[in-house]
Symmetry: C2
Subunit: 360 residues, 2 copies
């Protein structure tokens, strides 16, 4: 079995440690802040002591700008046979690693696509990475054993490995994460300058849109610094799109009918493109990193029917993540939605059918 050191026990580091430790890996915790190590250890993430001898894998969960320097130090120390990091940008750390003449054969850059608005070890969860994409950026000189060790880490965390070049990765996360983060902050910033009465009308749409604007600004300055050009390029292109939208809207407000029709075409076009882009986002659940599937079971109004269903679901040996009753319980017959991890849905379905339930 693998032995590992997690270096940096913030949200991501502690979550990695929890996942590994839960699977029986000997995990050592390390952080420049001893209090963070104690907190992570008390959560069951691993041992606060340094390992005796070299471990198999060191996971660097430090800010992107520190990856190169910390890797150089740890390799000089001889902490581990293989090294990876979990920084949210990859090209900058890769350049630093080369510039500092690290042993690049035994280092493989990684980025698990998970996170939360909260930070620090207390927000950590062993299942944070379950069914998430975990990007790996191997190069021509990456050692095969290093690749396999990091693939084992990804698998132990329940994530899905995706191999990409460092630059392609950084452009992709600029698109799906970093540029949207800035946009959410700017939209939220407009609210900060508005009158109370206007802000009081805010509903679920803008609340969801600006959710990520609640994140830690300093953490995000670090992330954006490491990917600034790619994010700036995307925001430049968004500014051009905004200018088109404004022109379309001004035309919509015109008195001239032909102009108005032109404006309507422009605005409808961008809304239709928004529909199309939105439809490409993976994951049907929309509320978290783990993707669930729902198994719907109609129940009759016989007393104890719901309890009987739960007992049978337990027999299926599948973890039920959530339960939702369609219609109020004032009407005892109805549809029970059992949410399970996507990979378990067909198993639960088969088991319930076998026990005499009809399943939708």
């Amino acid at each position: 079995m693998l032995s590992a050191v997690v270096v940096g026990t913030g949200l991501i580091g502690t979550s990695v440690a929890l996942a590994l430790h839960g699977k029986g890996v000997a995990v050592h915790l390390r952080d420049t802040d001893p209090a963070a190590v104690r907190t992570a250890a008390s959560l069951g993430a691993g041992m606060p002591q340094a390992p005796v001898g070299r471990v198999d894998l060191a996971v660097l969960a430090v800010p992107p700008a520190l990856v190169g320097g910390v890797l150089a130090d740890l390799q000089a120390e001889g902490l581990a046979r293989h090294y990876t990091d979990v920084a949210s940008v990859k090209a900058g750390p890769q350049q630093d690693v080369l510039a500092l003449a690290c042993d690049t054969a035994h280092y493989l850059g990684g980025h698990p696509l998970a996170g939360a608005e909260r930070s620090g070890p207390l927000a950590a969860r062993a299942d944070l990475f379950e069914q998430c994409s975990w990007v790996l950026t191997p190069t021509a000189d990456t050692d095969t054993e290093t690749l396999n060790t990091v693939l084992e880490l990804v698998s132990l965390c329940g994530a899905v490995p995706v191999v990409m070049g460092a630059t392609a990765h950084d452009r992709a996360v600029a698109l799906v994460s970093h540029a949207p983060h800035v946009v959410a902050s700017l939209v939220a910033g407009q609210l900060d300058r508005a009158a109370d009465r206007a802000v009081s009308l805010a509903g679920p749409g803008i609340r969801d849109l600006t959710r990520i604007a609640a994140s830690d600004p300093r953490l995000w300055v670090d992330i954006l610094s490491a990917n600034a050009e790619a994010v700036a390029d995307l925001l430049d292109s968004l500014a051009a799109d905004l200018t088109d939208a404004v022109a379309g809207l001004r035309a919509l407000a015109a008195t001239d009918e032909a102009k108005r029709a032109d404006g309507a075409r422009t605005v409808e076009g961008l809304l239709v493109q928004g529909n199309a882009g939105r439809a490409r986002i993976p994951g049907k659940h929309g509320s978290g990193a783990v993707r669930y599937e729902t198994v719907a079971v109609p129940i009759s109004d016989r007393p104890g029917e719901l309890a009987r269903l739960f007992v049978d679901a337990v027999r299926a040996g599948v973890n039920i993540e959530d339960v939702r009753l369609e219609h109020s319980v004032a009407q005892p017959s109805g549809l029970v939605h059992l949410a399970v991890a996507q990979s378990n849905a067909s198993e639960l379905e088969a088991s319930l059918r076998g026990q005499g339930w009809s399943v939708r």
Copy 2:
């Protein structure tokens, strides 16, 4: 008791009708599409027949551009004593109503701040407006009886009346709803032009940000048309903010340290302002218009305990909106979270305590 006609049985009209009908109001349904009336009637929203004689209140649930014309027709017909509408913009309809020389004393503009990505009567819900803001735009010549009748409508729908001028309303909804809608569509539109592998990395952040970009483009062209100038002004200002952000990001990528520090200050400043704006958005739930509260009840591992809890919750006479079990059902003892409308939580809690449950 009030009698009412709901004119236009889409999502909002049918939801108003369901709420009124559920409170014992005699509701007549009217739509240019007889199928929509039949659907709404079959959902229990009211009667498909025209009323005999004049009703108290006509609720116009038609697109903003049609409010003036429909009001003129209905007043000529003498359908109701008082009139209101539920259009999402207010200044344009108000101008139309004046231009068409309608009886403005007995018409009061309104806008319930609720909605959904879905549309049509099948998406309607009696509780759609519960605890939502419902803006009313009275003018100097609004009849007091009309104001009181519409206040009664708002109260029957469980919403909170907010009085504003039509123009202030339109600027406010441009800020909290219309401009963000365009922004979400543009961000989603960038995804439409991206490579598959990049889009596959999309996570919950951008999924929430672009949720509203899934809405019906034609409905939104109507909404944006009626408020185009206010939305264009806000997007112009957002484009300027974007330009600042791009400049900050380019500086962050500079080699000169003083320039980088400048860039970091700019970017951190806009992220901090985003934090502040985000924090001003009301509502703790973040996932829907209705605000729920959760009543947590520990249950033991006795067989049928969960079913017994449901039966007792039903006895409380409170609508249970959602049920969530903490921990998997593999462990039959645990905590059951019952979600109810905020206004019902203490009632449910008291009733369950009275029936011998301990409640957290």
